[in-house]
Amino acid sequence: MGNRIVTKKQLSENVFTLEVESSLIAKARKPGQFVIVGIDAEAGERIPLTIAGADAEAGTITLIFQRVGKTTAQMADLEVGQEIGYIVGPLGMPTHIEKLGTVVCVGGGIGNAPLLPIATAMKAAGNKIITILGARTKELIILEDDFAKISDELIVVTDDGSYGRKGLVTEPLEEICGGDDKPDLAVVIGPGVMMKFCSQVTKKYDVPTQVSLNTIMVDGTGMCGGCRVEVGGETKFVCVDGPEFDGHKVDFDQMLRRLSAYKSQEQKAHQAYLDHKCRIGLKRNS
């Protein structure tokens, strides 16, 4: 049923964007929601990916992902015209969009992808948008132009200073929160560690903060509990209660540990896939 790739772009060495036919999801999805993708219906993992955008009319959704394990490596190897095994969604609760005043949007690495539709909707609702985008180095800053279009102010930082300000996103965030125009909301999406430290900063200044969690998932309907996190001492399922939560209440350390549960097996599967590809390549060349 569809899932044909319409366009494919490589945003940086390991970041890809695919526009995929998926008319029902394109129609139903709202900012903040995600899908679960699998390549092999017989025996493979199921991974959550945020919906970076959608065109209801054309019936397509945009997925942006980073090549980190076997499934994402397989996806990166798909070309326009090919189909993704299966896509299910849209999942999770949509972001609550309302006019609050000033919203500071902080994106780290691949987190810019899910952040964009939220920032866009917040802007459309009449908020002033201050965006901070951060990455390790220049090549890894994605979607900067798109954010420039909807932001009243845009700050870019890199760890190595190769582009924009040198440093971490927490620094400009602290200046903004401590400044005269204290934001009414912070939306922070990126690696777990980044969300953790940003939440600590905003907490200091009492700025309400939304983070979007990306845990390991299986079904996405609340059936397995694999995606659970502790928020304010309560167990929550990211796939149905989230993915957005109050950053001041999330137990990030625990979440980070659960995320790395299968690291060695994932590496094994990924390596096996690379070896396999390599062998096929050799055969072809010989």
């Binding site: 017989e42 493979g44 299910v88 999942l91 079904d219 509990g225 694999g226 599967a269």
Partner: protein, 490 residues
């Protein structure tokens, strides 16, 4: 000729001249289910019980007394004409036997394997009563399985009435959904089954393991639906991809059956439950079964904990399945920790028996207090308390009471929580007007109709975590009511 074959011949010869008397029947030994060796099967996922031979089946069937009042039928939730099908097996008429079963149950190969007969039909059986031992009852389930398996190659496709032009949506492809799909399609309606997972079958594929219910059997049943013209749409979550209201108001469905199962795992809410290595049984079994984690590195990439020592919490079928799956995934030691005593275990007796044969260490009257973790957040142990039985509670079972100061630690690296499932709230949150009870189960009338016109429901989402046969039974009732509703609604 084996002893059994000789016995069968003698009995058949005797029958030529006189009717077998109850005494003759009582003398026929109860036929054991052939099974894979307990040690061998720890290392494979093949089906444990291998099924009766023809000789065994006929001998077992001859043990039936043909009771006038057939108490067994009263014990069957879907009222299969048990006495009659057993007689047909005794006479060697397997096709007739199967036809009789199929009048009431569409999935005999499944039910013959997973129904808790020992608390249903077989509990009521006169032969078991005579021996004061339910294990001595006529093995109705094994006979049901025998005829279903015998049919393997003949798989017939039910007739479909002329198209009515009415559209039926079925949400969830578990046993309930399968039955409704078949019955509504037979009446000539245009039927679509929507399934959230990437494979249809519900708990039959993602929960109950291969070694108890081979997935090929479930697939065959689903294939029959396909051949009848039922459309099966996977990766479609009703409530997310489309809502029930959209299906009815925009997509033209005239009736809907909600068979989404239970699907909300309960946790213990104890310290350490978020550690890496703590699973709900649903997650553990789904990874192992549906996503084939047991083939990791050999064609499947689904990761699952590589466990040496596992503790499974609970005493139901789900707990047994989890423990036995852990054994097959290579765990050296598997504990089953249960708060009450063994007689109170809700699991089927056969499963408890099989689990013990496979070396699972039953820790009865013990209950976990907290999960202990390593510095970097992995499970390293389970602290438990010992219990004793106190006064009976509301359910009539003696309430287990913790013995103070009896703490001890099990050295484990994986904990699987199998203490039951609540009702998944997704359909409720997205279907205004649909009525639920305070446990989150959908409220239905005696025809399985919900508070919304045209919307019916059954199975675990109505009953709470129940059984395959009860889900099927409700499916039948719902389908009959839906067919009638669609006929009136011309």
């Amino acid at each position: 000729m084996t002893d059994s074959e000789k016995l069968l011949q003698d009995l058949l010869a005797k029958q030529q001249t006189e009717k077998l008397k109850p005494k003759d029947r009582y003398e026929i030994p109860s036929q054991p289910m052939p099974a894979q060796d307990g040690v061998v099967r720890r290392n494979n996922i093949e089906e444990v019980a291998t099924g009766y031979t023809e000789t065994q089946a006929r001998l077992e069937a001859m043990r039936c007394l043909q009771c006038k009042n057939a108490p067994c039928v009263a014990g069957c939730p879907v009222k299969i004409r048990i006495k009659d099908f057993v007689t047909e097996i005794a006479d060697g008429n397997y096709g007739e036997a199967l036809a009789i079963i199929k009048e009431n149950s569409l999935l005999p190969a499944v039910c013959g394997r997973v129904c808790p007969q020992e608390v249903q039909c077989q509990e009521k059986c006169t032969v078991g009563k005579k021996f004061k031992d339910v294990d001595q009852a006529v093995a109705i389930g094994r006979l049901e399985r025998f005829v279903a398996d015998w049919d393997k190659n003949e798989g017939s496709i039910p007739d479909v009435a002329t198209e009515t032009g009415k559209k039926v949506a079925i949400i969830g492809s578990g046993p309930g959904g399968i039955v409704v799909a078949a019955d509504c399609r037979r009446a000539g309606h245009d039927v679509t089954v929507f399934e959230a997972f990437h494979k249809p079958g519900g708990v039959l594929v993602y929960g109950i393991p291969e070694f108890r219910l081979p997935k090929a059997i479930v697939k065959e049943e689903i294939d029959v639906l396909g051949k009848m013209g039922v459309k099966i749409v996977c990766n479609f979550i009703v409530g997310r991809t489309r809502t029930i209201r959209q299906l009815m108001e925009e997509d033209g469905f005239d009736a809907v059956y909600v068979g989404v199962g239970a699907g909300l795992p309960k946790f213990m809410n104890m310290e350490g439950e978020q550690l890496v290595g703590v699973y709900s049984a649903n997650e553990y079994l789904t990874r192992a079964n549906l996503m084939k984690a047991y083939q990791f590195g050999k064609g499947a990439d689904t990761p699952i904990a590589i466990s040496k020592k596992v503790a499974v919490l609970g005493g139901g079928n789900v707990a047994m399945d989890s423990a036995r799956t852990a054994v097959r995934l290579g765990a050296e030691k598997v504990y089953l920790v249960y708060r009450r005593s063994e007689i109170e275990m809700p699991a089927r007796v056969e499963e408890v028996h099989h689990a013990k044969e496979e070396g699972i260490d039953f820790r009865i009257l013990q209950n976990p207090k907290r999960v202990l973790g390593t510095e970097d957040g992995y499970v390293k142990g389970l602290e438990c308390l010992k219990y004793e039985l106190g006064e009976p509670d509301d359910s009539g079972r003696r309430r287990p009471v913790a013995i103070e100061g009896s703490e001890f630690t099990l050295d484990v690296d994986t904990v699987i929580v199998a203490i039951g499932n609540g009702a998944n709230p997704l359909i409720g949150q997205t279907t205004p007007g649909l009525e639920f009870n305070r446990w989150g189960n959908i409220v239905v009338d005696e025809n399985c109709k919900t508070s919304l016109d045209g919307v019916y429901a059954g199975g675990d989402i109505v009953l709470g975590a129940a059984t395959v046969i009860l889900a099927m039974g409700q499916g039948r009732i719902a389908a009959a009511a839906m067919n009638e509703f669609l006929q009136q609604d011309q």
